[in-house]
Amino acid sequence: MTTATTTPTPTPPNPGLLFDEPALPLHRRILSSFRGPVGSISFTLAVTLLVGLVWIGPEFLSPSNIQIVGVSVAIPLIVGVMASFALLAGVVDLSIGSMVGFGAVVFNQLVAAGLNPWLVALITILVGAVVGLTNAFVIVRFGAEPLAVTLGMLTLLRGLCQVIVVNAPPSTLIEPLYNVTQGALLGFPTLLLIGIGVTLIAAGIVSKTRIGRKVQAVGGDDRAAARAGISVSKVRVIALVVSSVGAAIGGILYVGQLGSASNVLGTGLEFQIYAALMIGGYSITRGGVGNPIGGLLGLLVVAGITNILNITFIDPDYLDLIVAIILLVAVLVDRLRGGDAFE
């Protein structure tokens, strides 16, 4: 574990070698796959599914239920996967929840004002990029603590949401966007398909491309990465902008899904997403670890448990308690497996 994170791979990638791997027997490979965080989270997900099936019955995997889970998990997934680049680069971005809200408010208000939705979407994404650049400017240029800067941004953006939306926000039901965010494609939630697509692309970038290795290297040990000739600043700027733009897109999608945006939309979303990402093997306190697939599985575990509690009509307060326990167990398991120990 330690070797994987502290010896980032500043090796020039060799496309021809991408798929060749040591010939391990299949059972060894399966066994070893359960040692990593993705392995244990797959196991947790399997247990969640099993509990769901035993408790609720086949209804748990009915198309309508998959639709419900898919629709609710897709936007956090897209936002989370984009934000995971910042985590990977070692710069946690706490402002994503407020950015989702701010993006949604900007998009909703401007669409309601009669502007073309496509143009407004572009403006919203630009706003996201500007926020990301501002975070990056203070963090990278001035060397400020990411946690502190993005916490300030979280506060600032939430304030702006409340300044802009002082009374009931307008309703903007945009049919095409509604159909994408709430609809199904071949019996599967469209937005979840998009989210999984984004996850797979991100996973490919992280594990197979030079950019991905650079991000991991910077997050794992920035000094070593700098010595290896990687521009630490550039990687972190890009990662923070990706994170913010992802949140802005999430905001747009929420407006599609909900037909409006109140000034509390996205409050606390950052911690929900990061809890799920940490269950999936990421860390908010050190970079260089985690894989988007793990993030997806982490979000699915939380969404699965939420759904089990929902359709059995159990008090949702228990959800946060269960998520808290799973999170603690997940980081504990990660630590026992050789992750960082805090003393």
Binding site: V91, V138, L156, F271, D315, D340, A341, F342
Partner: protein, 338 residues
Amino acid sequence: MTTSLITPADPAAPVSPGGRKGRPDSRGATAWRDALSIAGVWLLLIVATTIVRPDFLSSQTLLAVTFTMAISGILAVSQALIVISGGLLDLSLPVSLILSAWATVTALNNGLPTWVAIPIGIVTGAAWGLLNGLIVVFGKLNPIIVTLATGFGGLAIMLIFFKSAQIPSTSELRLYGLGRFLGLPNVFWPMVIVIVLAGLALTFTRWGRHLRAVGGNAQAAKARGIDLRRMRLATFAGAGAVAGLAGVMFSAVNPSFTPASGAGFQLIVIGAVILGGISLSGGKGNLLVLLLSVGFLATIPTSIAFFGLAPAWALVFQGALLIIAVGIDGYRLKRTAR
């Protein structure tokens, strides 16, 4: 190297395996500079507001600001202790606050005398801190992650057990919460005492030196023979007790509250700590600067009201200030590192 991994990645910070940012020789000077800059900005805000509204300088403003400082100031001390000890952040502080307030109020409602109810509140806070500390120490887990989880879970547990709580309107504690001493709200004074006591303890006692040492470089502190586990448990329990006191004061001024009532303090308290020059990487911090920072942040909402702006603008300004402040702080560290 382990120590540099547990702090948030800090690209430009001059972290070398041996010595970290906290340079004992320059600490006093840094504190003075932090204090002067915050006092300067605070003065600027007061002058600007006074130009627009000359009646800003009044006993009413003083009362409004000191009242706003009371609860968040005590909580800021609790948070500061965690941060200085290298615990990064305690995200479960709203739970400590409300849990202690609820324990106090429940004791009073069950007819227990005030002198029993107040310690119950403080001990509840300490117990909650100790719980966090035990998980951190025996799980060897990062406190910010642990308290993120216990913050979630703690709120959930409170929501399951109570919907709202009310302090008896005739209880001594309630009357104390409504009273005034030397022209300022009663609840302001415990905050001052806590800041002064904690500040003195941090500077002049062995415990304080150890706390800073552990926060500055845990491994070096361990090598010098400091028992890390004991230190961490004591810090979490102590910081919890301080938050417990905040809970007692909270129950004295909020006649009715719900489990979620503490949420509003989270950001303002963390903001005050960071603005007060207490670095998230631990080991450094001066509580008198923290007092200035709490006072400055508490003045913003009142100024906003004098300007006639909506209260949401206070969030915008506080957020922007936080970003600017940590930017300047980071820049300074970067320059001195060269």
